[in-house]
Structures are given as C-alpha cells and as structure tokens.
C-alpha cells in the first residue's frame, strides 16, 4: 500500500500505560455512576459497591492485560471508551431496576448484564488471544457468510424463534433468549470484506459511464442485489427495520470503500429508496412508524402507538441541559427503557450533557476504527475495520436518531449501553477485532533493511505470519 511510504520513519508507540490511565478514568465513570445511582435513589452508597466495583475493575484489567500481552500495539483509546460506556450502561440499568423494585416489580437486569459483560470480556480475550492475525479470517469468507445467513434465519425456525416487540429476531434455548442477528453482523462484515477484497477490481474497473457516474456492469450487480434481497427479507419476514437498514448501509459503505467508486452507493441508495418506498406502500408497520415519526403526539394512546417514543421525548425534554440527576427523574415511565431507549433515560437523568458525552464516546470509537482502517496495511483489514466502524456509526445513528425523533424509530440496541446479552457480547467481539487490526496496523514493520533481507522494503516481500 502506498501510505506506508509516507509513514516511514514514524513508529507507533504501544501506549499501554496511557490506556491503563484512561481505564482508571473509565472505571471512575462506571463505579461513580453506580454509587451516584445508589445515592440518588436510596440516599446511600450501594452496599455491594466494593464487590461490584471490584468485579468491573477485574474485567477491565483482564482485558487490558490481554492487550498488553497479545496485542501490545492495539489502539489505546478503544478499551477505555468501551469500559466507560459499558459501566455507564450498567449503572443506568441498575437505576431502572431500582425504579421497578420501588414499583413492586423487582428485576435484576443489571446483574444479568454484568454476567453478559463478563461473557463479553471473555470473548474479547478469546478473540484477541486466538486471532493472532486478522488476515486468517479472510479464509473464512464464505463460511462466515453462510453462518451469517443461518443466524439470520434461525428466528424464523418454528419452535426456536419467537416474536418480541413486533419483531421476529429472537431465539430461545431453554431459559436464554438471544438475538442471533447481533452476531450475524460481525460475520457479515468478515464475509463481505473477504468477498470484496477479491472482487474489487472487477467491481471497480468494469462498467460504463453515464453522465457523471461510472455505473457497474450488470453481472457485477449480483452481490449487491443479494444483499438488497437479504435486507428486504429481514424487513419483510422479521419485521426488523433497524437491522435491515443497518445491513444494507454497511454493505454499501464497504462496497464504496473497496471499489472507490461513488456509483455503487448511488445505485445502492436508489435500490434502498425503492425498497423503502415499496415497504411503506405494502406494510402497515412501516407506514405506522413513519406516521408516528411525523406526528408522535397523535399516536400516544394507540397500539401500536407512540407511547414509548413520546415518553422518551418528554423525559429528555425534562432532563434539559444538565439532567435531573440519578433518582430524580422518571425514566421508568418509558416502557422497556433499559433496552433501545436507554439513551432517553440518560437524557432524562444526566441531561444533554450526558447524551453528548455518550455520543462523543461513540464518535471516538468510530474515529479510532476508521483511523485503524487508514493505517492498516492490507485491504482485508481496511475493509473489516471500515465495516465495523460503519456498523457502529449506523447503529448509533439509527437508534439514537430514532429515539430523539430525528428519523423514524426502528428497533436497534444502543451498543454497550442497552440491556441485552447478544448485543453486548457481539460488540465486545467487534472491539476485539478492531483492537487486533489496529495492533497489526500500528506494529512497526519487520526489519526489512537491505542488510536483513537484501531486497529493500517492498511490501510484496513483507513477512506475514499467518499462524
């Protein structure tokens, strides 16, 4: 790749000490928020603060030391940002648990979420430790693709999948329920990246020029039409607008980055618009969402109506600039606030300040992932990192935009904040992959000086260790 020449002479430092320092700050956010919830709701610091804080700190430190040993050059900002978000999410879920307890319906979502976080960190450690080089994943292009499709189809299997909040995206095994779509998006990124890195030349170079745009060849439209079909299938059969939008948007971004041709997003957007328009005409639930978005107040008392959305808007409005403070708001008025609407609960009790802080943290994750993509030396890594960044950005945009009334509401979880194991675990894996790619990207190139190799610093002869 060309940019390695420009970067010659600059060697990334490991910065693990900086990461540790930032992690202490992140823990202060997480544990501090937990204490603030106790103080705000019950008037005292929670009795289990030491055990809780200790567990959180232990998880974060395990992740940190995994990076220190297995990926010493990984981006030092990612883990602290994720730790802060996850800690804040736990505190807010705990806050909602307490509100439900006061109303006589005790829940221990926060505890369950901590268990899921533990599993998430375990998968993070496993991913970083096992995938020593992200390029091995390229071998699993088609396996991943198949896996993603199977996972996406699982909720449609009778007896296994079930419908919740109108969307058929859940499977239940024994006492556990899971959204396979969350893991599918990781596999899909890998599959699409693997496919594109092989076929990008064909997709990029063949085609004809129409006005200002280079339009792709008809035969190359196959994969984009397949993804379009997949997204529409999710929309039609699982009634999951959010995932549908996410998958298609993700695919367009990766296609654009792989081919460097603006024609692809244009074709994709046209297809998306056509699909969206058709869905609006054909499906009542899509039309309903749009109508609610246009005038939420008019649908408060209807089913399906806008009660949840409007309560969220009222809560965020009430929170104002600095929020009511933990325990002073009524986030429990928002139905299932701990899930998609957790940003509204944050807006109510921590205010615009809190919402902005959370959005900036998300922005930071996206920025770090894209930076990783920029400095990554191989096309596959670039595409995976870009894809994962796009997943994050799109998901945050779709869910936060939906909750705050910017776009029609479509159900998606808020990464690392929302209650829900599938999402949390999948996001920890995403961060592990980005950390792995960034470790490869930031690692100083092997010593390829003429004395050592005799052929100069040619990318083609760079030693790549695959196992």
């Amino acid at each position: 790749m060309s940019q390695t020449g420009a970067l010659m002479g600059f060697v990334h430092r490991r910065r693990r000490g900086a990461e540790l320092f930032l992690l202490v700050l992140a823990l202060a956010v997480g544990i501090g928020a937990y204490a603030a919830v106790g103080l705000g709701v019950d008037g005292e610091v929670p009795v289990d603060i030491v055990g809780y804080g200790g567990w959180l700190a232990a998880l974060v430190l395990v992740a940190h030391f995994t990076l220190r040993f297995a990926a010493p050059y990984a981006d030092p900002v990612l883990l602290p940002v994720v730790a802060a978000l996850n800690g804040l999410g736990l505190a807010v879920i705990h806050r909602l648990d307490l509100a439900k307890e006061a109303a006589g319906k005790p829940h221990d979502y926060a505890q369950q979420q901590l268990i899921w976080m533990t599993l998430g960190v375990a998968l993070f450690v496993g991913t970083v430790a096992l995938v020593r080089d992200h390029r091995v994943l390229q071998r699993f292009t088609y396996t991943s693709g198949l896996g993603a499709v199977v996972l996406l189809l699982l909720p449609l299997v009778p007896g296994l999948g079930y419908r919740n909040f109108g969307a058929q995206i859940w499977i239940r095994v024994g006492p556990f329920s899971f959204q396979p779509g969350e893991l599918a998006k990781v596999l899909l990124v890998v599959a699409v990246a693997g496919y594109l890195v092989l076929h990008r030349d064909a997709l990029a170079l063949a085609g004809r020029r129409l006005l200002f745009l280079d339009l792709p060849r008809g035969r190359d439209l196959g994969p984009i039409l397949m993804m379009w079909g997949l997204s529409l299938g999710i929309l039609v059969f699982q009634r999951d607008l959010g995932s549908s939008l996410l998958f298609f948007g993700l695919f367009l971004v990766m296609l654009y980055v792989a081919t460097e041709r603006a024609g692809w997003p244009v074709v994709g957007l046209l297809l998306f618009s056509a699909g969206a328009l058709a869905a609006y005409q054909l499906f009542g639930h899509v039309r309903n969402r749009v109508n609610i978005w246009l005038d939420p107040m008019a649908y408060i008392d209807q089913t399906p109506g806008s009660g949840q959305l409007v309560e969220g808007l009222f809560g965020m409005g009430w929170g104002g600039l600095i929020g009511r403070g933990f325990g002073e708001g009524r986030p429990d008025r928002i139905p299932v606030a701990e899930s998609d609407f957790i940003i509204a609960a944050i807006g109510e009790e921590l205010g615009l300040t809190g919402v902005m802080a959370v959005l900036l943290l998300y922005g930071l994750i996206v920025e770090r992932a894209l930076r990783t993509a920029l400095i990554c030396r191989d096309g596959f890594g670039k595409l995976v990192a870009t894809g994962l960044a796009a997943v994050f950005a799109l998901q945050v945009f779709v869910v936060v935009g939906g909750v705050t009334g910017l776009i029609p509401l479509t159900g998606l979880t808020t990464p690392f904040l929302s209650y829900g194991g599938s999402s949390l675990v999948a996001n920890w894996v995403i961060i592990a992959l980005v950390a792995r790619i960034s470790d490869q990207a930031r690692r100083p190139p092997p010593d390829l000086s003429p004395e050592a190799a005799g052929t100069g610093d040619d990318d083609a002869t760079q030693v790549v260790k695959l196992r």
């Binding site: 654009y256 965020m316 409005g317 920025e367 870009t386 945050v396 705050t404 009334g405 910017l406």
Partner: protein
C-alpha cells in the same frame, strides 16, 4: 482505499453532528414546548409533589404545602377551606382553579422573578421551593362577610365583595355555597375524581365563585349608574328636582308589563327632590331618567364603571352586561336594573368604590405581594386606575344622595352609629315565576373618606318570597363588613 475511507469518515461525522444537533434541539429548544404538553405526566407529577408556596392572608396561610410521606412529597392543605375556597381555588392532580391556577408560576417556583432562588436551589442541590402570594383580603372583613351570609336561613346562594375604594384592593370575597378544597387536593386520586363529580353535580354549583362568576339583574342598585348618567349627561345635581309619579307607562307599551310603579313607596308627583327619589328608590324616576339620558349615554356610563369588560387578572370572571341598541321601553327597564342588564357582585362593588373614590375607578386586584421562599418581597402590586368613571362633582353629589338613603331611606339597616354611610338597596325580579327575586345591597363608608365599599348579593335563601328585600337581608351583612374594616 484511503480516499473513500476518509469520505466515509466525513459521512460518519455528519451522522454524529446530526445526532448532536438534534439532541440539543430536543433537550434545549423543544424542552419548554414538551413541558407544556398536557399529556406530559412527568411535569404533572413533579408539580404535584413539589413544595408549593403558600397563599397568605395577613400572616396566616390559607393554602400551604406540608410534607407528606406517600408517593408525592408534599400535600396541599387549606386550613380555612370554606371561607377561602372561592379565592384560593384548589390544587388537584388533574387541574388547578382560582389563585392556585393564576398564580401557579409563582407558587410552583417557575416564575422568572424567582430565577435567582431557583439557581441557588439548583446549585445547592435542594428541592426547588415555590414563592408565596400575599392576598389583599382583610381577614376580619372576610370573616364578617362569611358569617353574615352563612347566618341567613336555608341553603344560601349568594356572595359578598368588599373593595378598598382608593386602591382597588379586594378586602373580602365570599361565595356560598362553598366547598372543601382539601378533598380535591387529596393524593387519593380516585376519591378526588369522585369528589369532583359530586361537586360538579351538587345543587347550587359550589365550585362557582359567585363574586366574579354570576351575573344577575342588579335591580335598584343599578340606580347608582342611572343617577350618575343623569348627572353626567343630563346636568342633574344632588339638589335638582327629578321626575316622579306613582306610575309610569313605558313608551311603546300599552299593557301591564310596561307599567312601572313604586310598590307603595312615596314618590310624589311630577317633580320630586333627587334625595327623595333615591331614598325611596323610585322606579318611575329612574326609568324616566334613563330614557332622558338615552341608550347611548346609559351605555357609556355603564361601560365607564366596567360593564362589558374584563378587569380582574387573578380569577376567572364573567363580564357584566349592559346591552346595546335598546329601544325606549327597554331603556326604561334598564334604568331600574331590569331587562337584560346583568352584573356580578364584584361589578356592583366597583360602582360603589368608584363613587367613594371621587369618581376614580381603581382596577380591582387580589394579589398584594409576591415573595420568595425566604420571604423576601419580589413584587408588590401598584394600584392602577382603570379610568375616571364619573367626575368628582358627580361622585360627591351621589354620595350625598346615598348617605340620605341610609339615614332616612330604604338602606337604613346599614347605618353605623357615628359613621356616615352611603348605601343603596336592590331587589331584582328574576323574570322567572319559580325563581325568587334577588336581594342586593351596596354601600361604602365612611362617606367622607371611604375605606371600604361592599356589595352583597343574595341569589337564594330560605325566605318567603314577599319578605325578600335588599335592605333587610343585605344591609346588616354590609354593615358588619364595613365595621370590620373601619374599626381596625
């Protein structure tokens, strides 16, 4: 691939900026609009459990918030519920009435005048507290008015209003039947709904503040307005002789309904002294005077006193009515306070107050002071003149007539030994066979330097139809209220 990655980065930046801008719009610019949405239960519940400021009469609270140990942190209580319910109104989960409604911003602490207090509360992390409202009510006068009206037999429907003529301060405002706002302010919302329904369906409309909300024909007390118009427009003075006579067939009529008499009171012949006409409440005189002044002049004078107008900011009020485009027969009826002319008790008190204040009509008001939770006065209402209703000479002449009415005429029950009192009775026909006449009484004292003007209206009491008379029923009540103010 780096160029498109940078483009994607720019696109992601755009997404995040859109989210940040939208969140700011929602939580900053749109917050106020959302807070005012009636469907926003958060605001309602927060307001309901907030420590509201007190409504004070003198040094005593007639509405205050006390700590409560249930779901809502404070309970609104009304220590003297029946006497003050028409003024305070009720603070319920569902709505507010009376001062609780009009002064809500101060009481809840949201008023801009309380900004500094709110800021301090926010910084010191204490619960925001509302400011208190001091009303102009004189507790002794209020007590006298309430006791006097309640002492009438049966289920009384009526009202008493007292004003300070020089300022427009409302010194007393009583309305019967009344209700207990404590029932409506309860935290047990089911009982509140039941109580609300019960009160809405109750006979006599206890939720209605008759002082400002009930318009009735004022009858003979309207002769004050007719007399003022005659002096202003037709040049009469206190010493003038006015048309008299035992009966008067209204122009354009020929049957009995157009025949006006004086119910046996002595009203002489063709021309009688103005004093006699007023003292004996001569219907013939005032019907003729009204026709002489003309429809336009009568309306101008009535409007100058505040008819067909809203002037009270703090409570809901019905505008008193003086109709336009009257023919001569209707005009004659109107001159004695019948036909379609209708006045609230507050309106008639204002007529008396203007006459007692050299013709200057002051805007009536209830809220004297607004104080911060730390009792620092934030705002004091300055008396405002609504307009000069009559010239000082007319006011002086009319007062002379009204003093004579108390001294030797129909209004004698309001006489206070040693104090010159100006007063006028009224007994208005309801116009309906099954509805008894309404008894009215207006007065002010001391006549040379009035400190109080009173209007008493008795819409219904358990009194035989023939015995209903403004002087006998209303006079003693007015007297008690005036004494309560003067002897302080």
């Amino acid at each position: 691939m780096n160029k498109p990655i940078r483009t994607v980065a720019g696109f992601c930046l755009l997404l995040f900026v859109a989210l940040l801008v939208n969140a700011t719009y929602l939580q900053y610019w749109r917050a106020g609009e959302l807070a005012e949405d009636p469907q926003n239960r958060r605001i309602v519940e927060a307001a309901f459990s907030r420590e509201r400021g007190a409504i004070l009469v003198g040094r005593q609270a007639v509405a205050e918030s006390v700590p409560s140990d249930d779901k809502y942190e404070f309970q609104r209580v009304y220590p003297r519920p029946f006497q003050y319910a028409p003024i305070t109104g009720a603070f319920t989960y569902f709505s507010q009435t009376g001062l609780e409604r009009s002064q809500n911003e101060v009481l809840s602490g949201e008023d801009s005048r309380l900004f500094v207090t709110r800021l301090v509360d926010m910084l010191s992390n204490t619960e925001p507290q509302g400011g208190s409202v001091q009303v102009t009510i004189n507790p002794a006068a209020q007590q006298a008015a309430f006791d006097g009206l309640s002492a009438l037999p049966g289920d009384v429907e009526g009202s008493v209003v007292a004003l300070e003529p020089s300022t427009g301060k409302i010194l007393a405002m009583v309305s019967l039947p009344t209700y207990d706002p404590n029932r409506l302010a309860s935290h047990r919302l089911g009982e509140v709904t039941a109580a609300q329904r019960e009160l809405e369906d109750a006979p006599g409309q206890p939720l209605l503040n008759r002082a400002t909300g009930t318009r009735l024909p004022p009858g003979s007390v309207f002769k004050l307005v007719t007399a003022a118009a005659a002096m202003e427009e037709a040049g009469y003075t206190a010493s003038s002789r006015v048309p008299g006579g035992a009966s008067f067939q209204l122009p354009l009529t020929s049957d009995e309904s157009g025949l006006i008499d004086n119910e046996g009171r002595s009203c002489g012949g063709d021309r009688i002294p103005f004093t006699q006409a007023m003292a004996n409440s001569c219907n013939t005189t005032f019907a003729k005077l009204a026709i002489e002044v003309g429809a336009e002049g009568m309306k101008e004078q009535a409007d100058a006193f505040g008819f067909n107008e809203q002037y009270l900011d703090e409570l809901r009020q019905a505008s008193s009515v003086f109709p336009a485009d009257l023919d001569e027969a209707q005009l004659g009826q109107t001159g004695i306070g019948q036909f379609e002319v209708a006045a609230t008790p507050l309106q008639m008190a204002m007529v008396a107050a203007a006459l007692g204040n050299d013709g200057s009509l002051m805007t009536p008001y209830l809220v004297d002071k607004v104080s911060s939770p730390s009792l620092q006065v934030l705002d004091q209402t300055e008396p405002r003149e609504l307009r000069q209703a009559v010239s000082p000479a007319t006011a002086r002449d009319l007062t002379e007539l009204l003093v004579a009415t108390v001294d030797e005429g129909t209004a004698s029950p309001a006489a206070i030994p040693g104090v010159p009192v100006a007063g006028k009775t009224g007994t208005a026909q309801s116009g309906l066979d099954d509805v008894p006449p309404y008894a009215w009484f207006v007065s002010y004292a001391p006549a040379d330097d009035p400190q109080v003007a009173v209007a008493v209206m008795i819409q219904k009491a358990d009194i035989p139809r023939g015995e209903i008379a403004g002087g006998r029923l209303g006079g003693p009540i007015a007297k008690a209220v005036m004494e309560a103010v003067i002897t302080q």
